[in-house]
C-alpha cells in the first residue's frame, strides 16, 4: 500500500494506512471516536486524532509498537499515543478492548477491504450512538452536532439508535428525542 502524503493526509488516508499494516501483522483494530465522523462527513468535521480500539486480547503494546515503528511512527507519551514525525496534524491513540458504546459491548463494526486486507470502523449507526453517548455522559454538545452531521450524510438505523438510548436510560431518552427533532 502506498504511503500517504504525511504533511497533508486526511484522517481516512492515515487510518487506512495504519490499520492496513496492523491488520497484515494480525492485529485487529476498530476505528472509533471523532475520526469516524470525519470519514462519514467527508472532512466537514476534522478530528485530528485516530482512536483505535485493539480487538486482540493477547496483543501487548510491544507487538503493535513494532509494527508502528516499522512504518515510521513514534510513541510520544506514557499513554498509547503515537505520531509520525512527518505528520503534525493527526496523532493516534490505542485503546484497550472491548469496543463499546455505553453499556453496549456487542458492537459489530463495518469492514472495509484494502488490497485484500480487512480493516474495521464503527458503522454510521454506531458512530451516531457513540457521539450521542459523549453528549449524554460528558455533556459534550459538539458531539451531538457531530451525530446530526453523520445522520444527514449517511444511511443509518434510527430504530437501533432509539433502542440503544432506551436501554441506556436516564437522559438518553430525552437526547434521542432532541436528536430526532433535529433531523426534521
Amino acid at each position: 500500500m502506498k504511503e500517504p502524503k504525511w504533511d497533508s493526509c486526511s484522517e481516512k488516508e492515515l487510518w487506512e494506512y495504519v490499520a492496513f499494516h496492523l491488520s497484515l501483522a494480525g492485529i485487529n483494530t476498530v476505528l472509533v471516536g471523532g475520526a469516524v465522523v470525519s470519514i462519514y462527513t467527508k472532512g466537514i468535521f476534522v478530528s485530528g486524532d485516530l482512536d483505535l480500539v485493539l480487538q486482540n486480547y493477547q496483543v501487548d503494546e510491544n507487538t503493535f509498537q513494532k509494527v508502528l515503528q516499522n512504518i515510521g511512527f513514534e510513541k510520544y507519551s506514557t499513554r498509547n499515543y503515537y505520531k509520525h514525525p512527518k505528520c503534525d496534524h493527526i496523532f493516534i491513540e490505542f485503546m484497550s478492548p472491548p469496543v463499546s458504546i455505553g453499556e453496549d459491548y456487542n458492537i459489530k463494526p463495518d469492514e472495509i477491504k484494502i488490497d485484500g486486507t480487512v480493516i474495521k470502523i464503527l458503522s454510521p449507526t454506531d458512530c451516531i450512538k457513540d457521539r450521542l453517548a459523549s453528549y449524554i455522559y460528558f455533556n459534550a454538545r459538539e458531539c451531538f452536532e457531530q451525530a446530526i452531521l453523520v445522520a444527514k450524510e449517511q444511511l443509518f438505523d434510527i430504530k437501533s439508535v432509539e433502542k440503544w438510548c432506551r436501554k441506556e436510560g436516564g437522559s438518553a431518552i430525552k437526547v434521542f428525542n432532541e436528536f430526532k427533532n433535529s433531523l426534521k
Binding site: T78, M95, P98, S100, G102, F138
Partner: protein
Amino acid sequence: MLEGVFGNKTAEKVLLHIFHYGEIHAAAIATDYNIAESQVRKQLERFEKANILVSKAIGKARVYFFNKKSPFIKPITNLLRIAYDSISIEEKENIFKVRRRPRGREKVII
C-alpha cells in the same frame, strides 16, 4: 477492602474518593489522605489508561471522573458502592470531610 481487587490501597482510596465526590483532582485526594500527590497521580493515570476514568483540564488542574461511556463502569461502581456503604457514617465524615459541592461564595460552613 478492595485493595486486592484494584491492586493497592491508594487505588481503592482514589476510586472511593471519585465515587463520593463525582469528580476530583489529584492534589485534593492527596491532601485528604495525607499521602504523596505522585502516588495518587500514578493511580489516576493508570485508571485513565484503562479507560475507567477520564479527565479534563479546569484552569491549571486536571479533574478526573468515571468514564460513563465504559461498559465496565456499572460493575465497578457496584463494587465501590458495597465498599462505600460498609464504611460507617462516622468514618465517612472523617474521610470525606471536605465539602466540594457548590456553595455560595460567602456562605459560612458550620
